[in-house]
């Protein structure tokens, strides 16, 4: 299992469409994926789970992945977050 911290940087935070993009990206990997905001940990492949993180801009999340493609999964998710989910700001 590997774990990385990442900060939400897009203006709107982890809103519904961004959450959908994250979940779709996570679903492409076989590994298990969990995301934590403080003490709250959710399944990174669940839209409702991701939404209940209520992560606004500046929120630091911790991402954990466990499985054979865990490295690719974490890199992919972090790249998506750092690309502002494809949003302009």
């Amino acid at each position: 299992m590997i774990s990385r911290a990442v900060t939400i940087i897009n203006k709107l935070g982890l809103h519904a469409r961004a959450a959908t993009r994250l979940v779709n990206s996570a679903a492409a990997f076989d590994c298990e994926l969990w995301i934590s905001n403080g003490e709250k940990t959710i399944n990174g492949k669940s839209i409702m789970g991701v939404l209940t993180l209520a992560a606004s801009r500046g929120t630091q999340l911790n991402i954990e992945a466990k499985g054979k493609d865990e490295n690719e999964a974490i890199e992919g998710i972090i790249e998506l977050i750092n690309s502002r989910f494809g949003e302009e700001e």
């Binding site: 519904a16 469409r17 959450a19 959908t20 669940s46 839209i47 409702m48 209940t52």
Partner: protein, 129 residues
């Protein structure tokens, strides 16, 4: 095959929730059958339309009917059809419920109904400062 999904609500509630879910998911939910509920005077109509929609949506695995207010006419219409159909009715539709149902639509009817209830509840939180 998968469970058919039918939505019947007051006014434009169901349509608005479906459109919002389509915006969030960025694709069409055209497999979901939206049935207009018409309150004409004191007597609601739509029994025949709802039955037809349920029958057409049932590809063999049954139909999940999502509706808004428990005890209200759309929910009563749907639950009144239960003896005639292979289906389950879940009240209290919200966006969280619909997203959950859509994500698990390949699951068996009873499981999907449970997912709908859990998903709808999960979308309700009091957010502290």
């Amino acid at each position: 095959m998968s469970v058919g999904i039918v939505v019947i609500t007051h006014g434009q509630v169901g349509e608005a929730i479906i459109k919002a879910a389509e915006f969030i998911l960025d694709h069409s939910l055209e497999d979901i059958c939206l049935v207009p509920f018409i309150q004409s005077g004191a007597h609601p109509t739509g029994h025949r339309e709802l039955k037809l929609a349920i029958d057409q949506s049932d590809a063999g695995d049954g139909v999940l009917v999502l509706t808004d207010l428990v005890g209200a006419s759309p929910a009563n219409l749907a639950s009144g059809l239960l003896p005639e159909i292979r289906g389950k009715v879940v009240t209290g539709i919200n966006l969280a419920m619909l997203l959950r149902v859509w994500n698990y639509r390949e699951m068996p009817l009873n499981t999907l109904a449970s997912k709908a209830v859990a998903g709808g509840k999960r979308g309700i939180e009091a957010i502290d400062a």
